[in-house]
Amino acid sequence: MSTPNGQFGFGSPATPEQIAGWDIDVASDGAGLPPGSGTVQQGEEIFARLGAKCHGAMGEGGEGGPPLVGGIGSLNTDAPIKTVGSFWPYAPVLYDYIHRAMPADKPQSLTPDEVYALCAYLLYLNGIVPEDAVMDAQTLPQVVMPNHAGFTSPDPRPDVFNTAAVPPGDLKA
């Protein structure tokens, strides 16, 4: 906490309209989700058009894009597969990332309805929501991801200690 000292007077006050255009983040609890909604069926059509090229027809991974589906239960094995279904802990963050970064060749081009539909479809492909699911600002935060409890913090490091005896500090050339 600090007091605005306005010591320098540099910068311009940001208007609500200016902020609204850039304030795109959606937090893990769903804060920031916009109005709109989308269905699994709508998402299937959009994904086939925009997502399948990189991520595979069924989200299994493809040219340039990681797999988005599968791997549930694999994280503690020798061959972990990290996907939306197996690894991502929060469903609203799916909205955040798709909107800000996808499709990779035209980010921030999708409407809220389209992003909600893609969320619904990817969650459906992973067996997390039923085929008739409708995603919106109320339903998406209620989705419990399989790995929702899989992340730990704070950082436990240093956690590896090299206890080798250190030789005397003189230089032995």
């Binding site: 080798a164 250190v166 030789p167 230089l171």
Partner: protein, 436 residues
């Protein structure tokens, strides 16, 4: 950097047993040639060979007792923007995928990385930003939401600091046997060090005022991925910098032009480039980048989130993988050490695979959270040897062995590899990376 995609690229490279030096020595060999085409290195290699001083008709014509050709004619005029010597144009970053490039550590001297050789990682390409229209928005839990132009930021009192950056994924090939890089550029080239100039984050946040409860801030870039990370406000206020220059010039586009966040000691991706927004809040956002991307998977299936600090690490850069010692005799061993927790206190070097250690000399001044150059004189007796270095920072933390690291974290955590690197020297002088 997409771990999967980069991993595939690197696997291809590892299979090809490709090194830049090897390619220089035998360009035209089928597989190496294909790789050169793949990575667009061939052009620069050929240019370097063609550009070797050619004034003399025969090799050696410029050596004593002859008068060198370049003394017998006027040289080039002064120029508006400098170029490096043609014979050095083969020193380039290694870019096995479009979103990443590795610094050529073996060819760097001292402790600063030229901006054109600074390692790169990005998520949506390098944006073509018009600095006149770029803005930094500071909002959220602040008293006065404010837009800053680049010129605004440059009007604040400035500071210059020398700090390293390192990708959290640096050395990720080294976790598993058989996937290790050949050269030190491949094994550890996702780090660089520069002198940064900018305005402290604290100056700007104090200007707008943080409201009660403001404990985290979202830092967001103006790239096509809107790359974003949640940062503790305490860290940003302590030593965070809004950097607009590196090594005396404005940032290069690949370094975050016109302004980036610099968080000394924190993993590279938190130092958000092309910074366009700081939003203060009470809790972290748990963005995709900090959950499913830059988190460290443990053997039990849990993943560590917010592993910000880059722990102490060192690597011998010469001799290193791809080099060949010419003959027994004097050989300087030199390398780089760094720690995200402060100064390097000491670096030890072993020439017998870690059985015995000697303390290396550190180049003064040793700066906190900065590359520290170490050197050790060595007489190579022509017998097989194994070179290792281990860094100890001012907290007393000693860089772990590979075995210690793997025992604690398994081989699938991908990020934050800081195990001791081993270079094997054969009787013929060839230097190779070994998993030891």
């Amino acid at each position: 950097m997409d771990p999967l995609r980069l991993g595939q690229s690197v696997a291809r490279v590892a299979r090809a047993r490709f090194t830049r030096r090897a390619a220089l020595a035998s360009s035209g060999a089928g597989l190496a040639s294909a790789l050169l085409d793949r990575f667009d290195l061939k052009a620069s290699v050929v240019a370097a060979q063609d550009a070797t001083p050619t004034a003399a008709v025969n090799a050696g014509d410029n050596e004593p007792p002859a008068v060198p050709a370049w003394m017998q004619m006027p040289g080039a005029p002064a120029s508006a923007y400098g170029e490096r010597a043609p014979a050095e144009e083969s020193v380039v970053r290694w870019s096995p995928a479009p979103d990443v490039s590795f610094s050529p550590l073996a060819d760097l001297h001292g402790t600063l990385t030229p901006n054109a050789l600074f390692y790169e990682v990005h998520y949506g390409g390098i944006p073509a930003i018009d600095p006149a229209e770029h803005r930094l928005l500071v909002h959220g839990l602040v008293e006065q939401p404010t837009l800053f132009t680049v010129d605004d930021l440059k009007r604040f009192p400035s500071v210059s600091v020398i700090h390293f950056l390192e990708c959290a994924g640096n050395s990720f090939f080294e976790w598993q046997e058989g996937s290790g890089g050949e050269t030190v550029q491949q094994t550890a080239g996702l780090t660089s060090c520069a002198e940064w100039t900018g305005v402290p984050v604290a100056t700007v946040l104090n200007e707008v005022g943080i409201k009660p409860g403001g404990a985290w801030m979202l830092a967001e870039g103006a790239d096509a991925a809107g790359h974003d990370r949640s940062i503790p406000v305490e860290k940003a206020m302590r030593d965070g910098l809004l950097a607009y220059a590196a090594n005396g010039e404005d940032l290069r586009p690949s370094q975050g032009y016109p302004v980036r966040l610099l968080l000394p000691g924190f993993e590279g991706n938190t130092n958000v480039k092309w910074l366009r927004r700081l939003k203060v809040g009470t809790e972290p956002w748990h963005t995709r980048q900090e959950t499913s991307h830059y988190s460290d998977l443990m053997p039990d299936g849990t993943a560590r989130e917010f592993t910000f600090i880059m722990e102490a690490k060192s690597v011998i850069t010469s001799p290193s993988g791809g080099h060949r010692l010419a003959a027994p005799g004097f050989q300087e061993i030199t390398g780089l050490a760094w720690s995200g927790r402060g100064r390097i206190a000491r670096v030890d070097v072993s020439t017998d695979g870690g059985q015995t250690w000697s303390q290396a000399m550190l180049q003064e001044p040793v700066r906190p959270i900065a590359w520290t150059r170490f050197r050790m004189p060595w007489m190579w007796d022509g017998q097989p040897a194994r070179l290792q270095s281990r860094a100890i920072d001012e907290t007393g933390y000693m860089q772990p062995t590979l075995a210690q690291l793997v025992a604690a974290r398994g081989v699938n955590s991908f990020y934050h590899f800081n195990g001791i690197q081993t270079w094997d020297i054969a009787a013929d002088g060839e230097v190779t990376n070994v998993y030891a």
